[in-house]
């Protein structure tokens, strides 16, 4: 059976069209992933940026004898529901610290209630009709506006959205990561040095290697179970504390640091080692004085990436109880604390709509820090990378 040239070239065209189609479809797949990334960040920005602004209103605060007993009396009745209750509670304390205030009346910019904030941002709010007219009047007089939200960065968690902030969680993250770094960095580097530079190639070494690769792929929540059963129940490390969270995360970060360090050590050429051995260095001296310093940029990069990973981890920390409600910014390793992702998780579970904004704001902060960390790692690698 023979085919005419026309048929053959038509067939060929079909085949090439098919080939081109694969190209476009696969390009589309990549585009889809990219598109998702763009949509995701746009969504987070839209939801989260308003969290950095908070409504404030200018009201007359009357520091009377009565206000020191009953803070509600410090502001006039019509604006009373509009002022944050959390702010009012601080008035007696301030009067005690500063006795001169007693008997004076001042116009002050004060934190508005969360509902006013939502109303000003155009969201649904629970303000009644008359309260809304008061807010409108204040806006017209220039006595109510959105200002930069410093509370969000300076205070701990609160049940009142206008007072809730990420400072306590940020502190907890710093403490937890300090523990993580202090434990996982030395052990990780030592393990990698042993495996690359000292270990004989035997069964035990192979077992350790397989084991490390496996450890990197174990679901994070199982590390939480380990933390709960071993660290808390067996060793009696205080629950919810940065110590137990840090130790749990350290075990998770360990494989990342080990693998990165081994790659870095392997990229140091053997000629360096031979030269050092040649002038009579012992094995440890070769490693300490020559190989490790040359591998340091790679090790740092890997550790930063491992830390960034640990920083975003939530599941194991929930299991060891680091989702506590922490209103004060603490600075100890053994008291209950929370971390940024856990704070995000807690806020995401709050029914109040204003907390969606807080959650997204917290996410933006977390993502900014993570991107900065990863970018630092990339810059470090670019700057110190050496081709041998």
């Amino acid at each position: 059976m023979s085919q005419s040239f026309d048929e053959i070239s038509a067939q060929l065209r079909r085949r090439h069209r098919k080939s081109a189609r694969l190209k476009w479809v696969s390009m589309g797949a990549l585009g889809l992933a990219g598109l998702f990334l763009v949509l995701f960040f746009a969504d987070m920005l839209v939801k989260g940026l308003p969290a950095f602004q908070q409504a404030q209103i200018q009201v007359e605060v009357d520091y009377s004898e009565q206000a020191s007993q009953l803070p509600l009396a410090a502001v006039q009745e019509d604006v009373r529901p509009l002022v944050s209750r959390g702010y009012l509670r601080l008035i007696p304390g301030r009067m005690e610290d500063n006795p001169d205030l007693l008997g004076t009346t001042r116009m002050e910019w004060v934190l508005a209630d969360g509902q006013v904030d939502q109303y000003l941002k155009g969201h649904h709010s629970k303000l009644s009709g008359s309260e809304q007219t008061v807010v409108e009047r204040l806006v017209d007089q220039g006595r109510a506006e959105l200002r930069f939200n410093t509370t969000f960065f300076t205070s701990g968690d609160s049940k009142m959205p206008e007072l809730a902030g990420i400072a306590a969680a940020a502190m907890g993250t710093v403490l937890t990561l300090l523990v993580t770094l202090a434990v996982s960095f030395p052990i990780g580097v030592m393990t990698a040095v042993y495996l690359e530079e000292f270990a004989p190639d035997n069964r035990v070494t192979q077992l350790i290697e397989i084991n490390i690769n496996n450890l990197a792929a174990i679901p994070s929540i199982l590390f939480g179970l380990l933390g709960l059963a071993i660290f808390i129940n067996f060793f009696g490390v205080p629950r919810s504390s940065p110590v137990v969270g840090g130790l749990t995360l350290a075990l998770m970060t360990l494989p990342v640091i080990i693998i990165a360090t081994r790659t870095a050590l392997r990229s140091v050429p053997d000629s360096i080692r031979h030269a050092a051995f040649g002038v009579g260095c012992s094995r440890w001296q070769v490693v300490r004085d020559h190989v490790l310093p040359l591998a340091m940029p790679g090790i740092m990069t890997g550790s930063i990436i491992g830390l960034a990973q640990a920083m975003g981890e939530t599941a194991p920390l929930i299991i060891v109880g680091m989702v506590a409600f922490i209103p004060d910014v603490g600075a100890t390793f053994t008291e209950a604390a929370t971390v940024l992702p856990a704070q995000i998780f807690t806020w995401a579970g709050e029914p109040d709509r204003a907390f969606i904004e807080k959650t997204s704001g917290g996410i933006l902060v977390l993502l900014t820090v993570l991107i900065t960390l990863n970018a630092t790692a990339v810059v470090l690698r670019k700057k110190f990378e050496r081709r041998w």
Partner: protein
Amino acid sequence: MQTNQILALFCGTLLVLGLIAFFLGRAKAAKVRASGTAMYAQPDQYAWFSVLSTAGPAILVGALGAFVMLLAGAEIPTLYLLAASLVVGCAGLAMGIALVRPEFHARKAIERVIRFFLAGAALISIVTTFGILVSIVGEAIRFFQMQSFWDFITGTTWNPGASFLEAAGRAEEGASAAQFGSVPLFAGTFMITLVAMLVAIPVGLLAAIYMAEFAPRRVRTLAKPVLEVLAGIPTVVYGFFAAITVAPIIVDVAGFFGLDASFNNALAPGVVMGIMIIPFISSLSDDVINSVPDSMRQGSLALGMTKGETIRDVVVPAALPGIISASLLAMSRALGETMIVVMAAGMRPNLTANPLEDMTTVTVRIVAALTGDQEFASAETLSAFALGLVLFVVTLSLNLVSVIMIRRFREKYRINNL
């Protein structure tokens, strides 16, 4: 005395002893060398050896004692322990100084100690795996003493209900007995994982094919790190995104087609999880496709195959073990993923094939069981460890199969850099 004070005292004394050892050892070595005797090592190395022989045994004794106290519950008065370890430290100091002799290889001795330390650090990773295994298996056994293993594996009702009251000794007559049938949990986990894989495998694989075979070099160097960003976003963020943004969209779309979807539907966490694991598949597949030998492409093209046909019939089949390996790794990631499902999937154990209904997963129940205020010994809390055990076994087997597949691929084409 407080533990902290004892620890401070111990460290302080040890520091002083160490300093004494360092300077005594160095002075003695320097004196010996000054007298004209050739020595095997430098004075500093002798000094460091003395420090090691002082601090090492003392710390060892202290740690051992503390460990015995914790493990066996034996009551050793901490002061005695402190004294004992310090005495050992002094003995070590004396021995270290005595060993500062010309024919003693101080450097080799230090080397041995360091090697020992490094090996000890390497063993920690094994200890970790072992710790996970012991902690999970130990508690799971306690659970299976309370509940039958068979019911756990085959039961279709998960209702921990009143188990915490039982543990507290306040079980009510007539209250329904707690049931721990895990089938609905596995069904939910499987459903969400399936959705995730249906999203991730086509997109990830096609993206890998594009990056490896079609894309200009510039696009490739840019696209790979951008895709990696997807894997770097914390899962709690994805969970929030799935619950707040994706789930309502799915409900709306389903409503448009006249379907009734729950706000905790299994589709939203599944889709978002799929997006999260795209880079796991694309990155490894890209590497694997790149390492398929060019001679195979050349042979195929020489026979008149188009580029698309070459990819479909030659390159992808050759890279298949690597692609499957990547998919298995991604699957184990999806099975163990916690935050996305905790935040976006339901809490209700629900045995259904409809992804628009709410379903719960193994990891959700683990978190739910361990964040309540229950007695630790209650069956519900312990059930978390039984579920964890299953999760551990499944993910471990997936990882092992994945490693074996990638090794087979590597051996077949003699590639060293995968």
